[in-house]
Amino acid sequence: MSRGAAKIVGLAALGVVACAVPFVASSFHVFQLTQIVVYAIALLGLNLLTGFNGQISLGHGAFYAIGAYTTAILLDKVGFPYWATVPIAGALCFGVGFLFGLPALRLEGPYLALATFALAVTTPQLLKVNALERWTGGVQGLLVEKPGSPIGGVLDADQWLYFLSLGVAFGLYLVAWNLLRGRTGRALMAIRDHPIAAATMGIDTALYKSLTFGVSACYTGVAGALGALLAGFVSPDSFTILLSIHFIVGVVVGGIASIGGMLFGAAFVTLVPNLADRISQAAPWAIYGAVLIAFMILMPTGAAGFARAVARRLFRGGNQPI
């Protein structure tokens, strides 16, 4: 079997499993699966920026928070239908991300990491500000009504939200894949690998970098909106620096500059706390920390890179993926 055919069969099998599982799993497991899909969207967004474009963001939790709060406020205070809030959250985050990307153009490497780190640390405080309490609910946060299923006989509310998230994730994956395999993707990676050479070849680095920031924030904002619908509430303390570090862990485990690996990374950060919580409250984070350092030293390409290396062994030949 050729590599391409194996890939297609594998993806189809994954699709069948993804559609079948919610009908046999308990509603808690459906909740967890939805969480994985939602995180995968956020990780994809972060990886577009950090993995493919080389701009390090330690503050994507902030964009996740903006998406979540947009949905919560539009539902609770304005009375929008829930499905309309998701694209609005995405569009708003695109705008905010693009604007944050403009000063970020002047920041390289550790400086950008520092600025986004500061953004992530400040986010909970900004959400608690008294002046905005009428909209954000202050320290208490806001409740978000869980959307009902429009086809109640076939799917219950949990399953509906799962398939909604899955559909959104599938669409966004296709967009990202298309974006990366063509001219745009080559430009992004050229900027990452050698910005000066990229500019010499006529790539508008400033435009591409701030657009990537916008698109990346948009993905994470959409994930935040879905995450708010799933969690049923938003509060400032759900969006601390630890959420941003969560995303970094997911990207590193899934594989920097891989889009397929993000599903694995999302599963890792969703499931590890569940398993490790029994040892100690601090155990998941100790594991995350160890994993971050171990991956960077031993396996910098993450799970996806490891899988690729195995696949190369099994199916010799074929072209090298990005």
Partner: protein, 290 residues
């Protein structure tokens, strides 16, 4: 006027903490060009060590040098074992390794010492003769300890052979190696010094912000702001900027934005400096040959 003076002086006192942390950040940046995101958590962990030594019945001023020694060794070990392996790796790997260190220190502190908030006594009695309405005894003590430590650091780097070797290794690793300086060890010693300086900051901060695993997150942000404002390759600039940031934070919190948005001051300083004056107030502009 009295209230203003009080805010100004206690700003100087918190500034002392930021100054030691900023000098620690600059020390590591100068030697390895890494921004150490784990600096605050290392300081927090050292403070816990000091706390448990005090719980065991040791007097404070015996604990102080002991903690600095432990922190120094820990810093050297971390550099030798972890950081060295990513010395020449891309920036992304380095940042991720530091985030890993941050997370490990934070969770280990919670695991070993618990997440509940602990009070740490100040070594300066609150009824001491040098306390006043403007500046409490602890605040004055903080400033004095920080200045004394910075003076020691200055004397070390200016007048000892080892200090000279460390400066040479940071300035020009290749040439230093040629004249027999063991550059790798100098970098490790730099890490040790930075960790010890961080421990000073943590021990001075603990009586003010209370001891808990997340105590240094905010403090670290101000430390970053100070390091950038002073110019990230200039330790004296960073120390001075630490005091400036402390005063700025206190005055802005009291008269401008309210206590709720104090951290936003750090965010604004950081983004402002890196956007408009990346070299900081006293730093050199970095020019890279292509």
């Amino acid at each position: 006027m009295q209230a203003f003076l009080h805010q100004l002086l206690s700003g100087l006192a918190t500034g002392a903490i930021y100054a030691s942390l900023a000098v620690a950040l600059v020390t590591i940046f100068k030697t390895t060009h890494h921004v150490n995101f784990a600096q605050g958590e290392l300081a927090m962990f050292s403070t816990y060590i000091a706390w448990s030594l005090i719980q065991k019945g040791l007097p404070y001023w015996a604990t102080f040098p002991a903690t600095l020694a432990v922190a120094f060794v820990a810093g050297v070990v971390i550099e030798r074992v972890v950081v060295r392996r990513v010395e020449h790796a891309p920036v992304l790997s380095v940042v991720i390794v530091f985030i890993g260190l941050l997370v490990i220190c934070n969770s280990l502190a919670g695991w070993i010492f618990g997440f509940s908030i602990k009070a740490m006594a100040s070594p300066f009695p609150s009824d001491a003769w040098y306390g006043s309405a403007y500046l409490s005894a602890h605040e004055l003590g903080m400033i004095a300890v920080t200045l004394a430590v910075l003076l020691c650091v200055f004397l070390f780097f200016r007048f000892t052979r080892l200090g000279l070797a460390m400066r040479a290794a940071a300035d020009n690793p290749e040439s230093s190696r040629l004249v027999g300086v063991r550059v790798g060890w100098m970098l490790a010693l730099g890490w040790g010094f930075a960790a010890a300086l961080g421990a000073v900051a943590g021990m001075m901060a603990a009586p003010v912000v209370y001891l808990e695993p997340n105590m240094m997150t905010g403090v670290l942000l101000y430390g970053f702001a100070a390091a950038l404002l002073g110019g990230i390759d200039n330790p004296w600039g960073a120390a001075l900027a630490g005091f400036i940031v402390g005063v700025l934070e206190n005055l802005a919190g009291a008269y401008l934005v309210g206590t709720q948005l104090k951290l936003a001051v750090a965010l604004v300083v950081i983004v402002g400096v890196v956007t408009f004056k990346p070299a900081g107030l006293f730093g050199r502009r970095l020019v890279v040959r292509v």
